[in-house]
Subunit: 369 residues, 2 copies
């Protein structure tokens, strides 16, 4: 059987690796950062801008698109790619995490997750079968199996129960799948318990997924726990599967995860922080509303060659932000995504040239200012 | 003396005309619509998008930029063009209208307008001298003299007083001017009284302005009064001066004004309505949140070739708007400005080919649906 994923280069001193993930909308070079496009748009940007920024793949959201405008509407309009005018790969989250984090009411049953919409309070039941139906209707290149999310910290018994249910849901997702050309990834849960994580990874590996995600991380746990969980699961996953750590994270966290062998990332941080005026740079971050920027004629990051840094001063960006101008969110988002996507480009180059460990050391020292 | 403005073609059956207005950032073909960029940005768009839309000149605002970030800040950063990365002409409003419409407190004295900032309540006095100082600091290609605005309707005596004060302020603006390469326009007031409008036009014409604006219109008066005031003043202004009707207006109003010989327009309507989901088309307007668009795969206007119409369905635009996505405001603004700027391009072509009267008839019949 032809695998969707193939490792290309391996770092000689860390677990870092480059690879290619084939999707029906083209190949994705890993390690990759996927900008979040929750509601069929990466907030404030056009698809043309995303292409210019070098985005290879973006994230869509089952929960949001099911509630609004509805997956049947999007299907009737030719699928999510056509709807939003993005013709490269899309990965859709299964909705499990949003039911947990956004719904105003939720109850997890064997059958599925019952929840109330955060938009209008209407009652819904998201089953594994429905999660697949939605994602197939959207035409996601990569679908995620429906998982159950639990708060951090959670007691072992509760974690065990939720993890076992996730396995049963994973099987049902695989059975419900009708479009084999859309990849389907399983999501490893197990809270912060290594033995539960290990067992769950092994259980999911015995099923027929195209890739594996580590879920339930980056939920408020200490950083060492995050890396411990990855170090526990990652080596169990054979090289011919891509490994995706969901919701990670800061630039520092991504670099560390790459060195542990992680291939895929998503996070709202670059886009959300942009809208809050927090901008990433090679030497740390800056808060654009700071009054010291009022007359600062220099770009956000003198080393950056994004559209924003090439054309605008910190003073102008501060003015736009203070004036709550729509252009502020857009220019800031362009800058932050350029930083994130550029970081992953640099990481891939460093791995290919087998100098990732040097890269990592320099990266941390520079970012620490 | 070399005049900044020159008429090129005259319609044989109406007062419509084309012309060229020379500014230090290049020529402007008239009749022209000037998108409003109040706070050093045309809301939601980049300068690149404005160029692509064919914008020749945009509006900036003395009142807003004086309060935030401050004209001295912008001057220190190289002027408004450099600050906002727009290198074509800019006209700046004098602030008179914003003091009238936005300030939380105002008092008109001989010396100037005392007002409280709508941002922080701080007290300011905008004099004719300060209005010119601010606009010269911004480096506006076209500055406007400070005028006094009155509500509609206003009694004759009050109107007369305000109009006479506007003349005295106009003289002070001319005296305060130090940068002769920046054009300065006078603003005709006079409320809805023809004899006051006539006298004020003549008074201002006796002064040394580069162009004339009709102010205090489009403030809630019936349409026939608006056109009556234009018909009364416009013929008094010699052909070698451009005539600008401030704050007009709807597409229909602009076409009518052009046929009365008006050369320049500005209005928040295309940009503000875009953000409220009201989209202009060749056959009238549509309200994008209307539920009949939920699955509508067609573009906003099948005859439109703007970026928005070429790439997105009404269904997608409705989804973005209902989801309050930032991209909604941007795509809608692109469409509406494309409509407005395209309308003026068509008007100029019709006048050049001396078929403006036919154009006008077809335009009204089509827009009426």
């Amino acid at each position: 059987m032809k695998r969707a994923f193939e490792v290309r280069c391996k770092c000689s001193s860390t677990g870092a690796r480059t690879g290619i993930l084939q999707t029906r909308h083209g190949p994705v070079k890993t390690p990759v950062f996927m900008p979040v496009g929750t509601q069929a748009t990466v907030k404030a940007l056009t698809p043309g801008e995303l292409l210019e920024l070098g985005a290879q793949i973006i994230l869509g959201n089952t929960y949001h698109l099911y509630l609004r405008p509805g997956h049947k509407v999007i299907k009737a309009l030719g699928g999510l790619h056509r709807f939003m005018n993005w013709h490269r790969p899309i990965l859709t989250d299964s909705g499990g995490f949003q039911v947990y984090s956004l719904a105003t009411f939720r109850k997890i049953e064997e059958e599925g997750a019952i929840f109330r919409s955060h938009i209008d309070g209407s009652l819904h039941k998201l089953t594994p079968e429905l999660a697949i139906e939605i994602q197939e209707a959207l035409g996601a290149d990569i679908m995620m199996a429906l998982d159950t999310c639990i708060p951090y910290p959670s007691p072992e018994q509760e974690t065990k129960k939720a993890t076992e249910l996730t396995t049963r849901w994973a099987r049902r997702c695989l059975s419900a799948r009708t479009r084999k050309e859309l990849l389907l990834f399983g999501i490893v849960q197990g809270g912060m318990f290594k033995h539960l994580r290990t067992r769950h990874t092994e259980e999911l590996l015995s099923l027929d997924f195209d890739g594996y995600a580590l879920g339930g991380l980056s939920v408020g746990e200490p950083k060492d726990l995050l890396f411990e969980m990855i170090e526990c699961c990652r080596p169990l996953i054979p090289d011919h599967f891509p490994c995706y750590v969901m919701g990670v994270g800061t630039p520092e966290d991504m670099v560390q995860c790459v060195s542990l062998g992680v291939d895929m990332f998503d996070c709202v941080m670059p886009t959300r922080n942009a809208r809050n005026g927090m901008l990433f740079t090679s030497f740390g971050h800056i808060v654009i509303k700071n009054s010291r920027f009022v007359s600062d004629d220099s770009p956000v990051d003198p080393e950056c060659n994004c559209y924003t840094c090439k054309n605008y001063s910190r003073a102008y960006l501060r003015h736009l932000f203070m004036s709550r101008e729509l252009l502020a969110y857009r220019l800031n988002t362009i800058h932050n995504l350029h930083y994130y996507l550029g970081l992953l480009t640099d990481i891939r180059a460093a791995i290919r040239q087998d100098r990732f460990e040097d890269f990592k050391r320099e990266f941390y020292s520079k970012r620490a200012g």
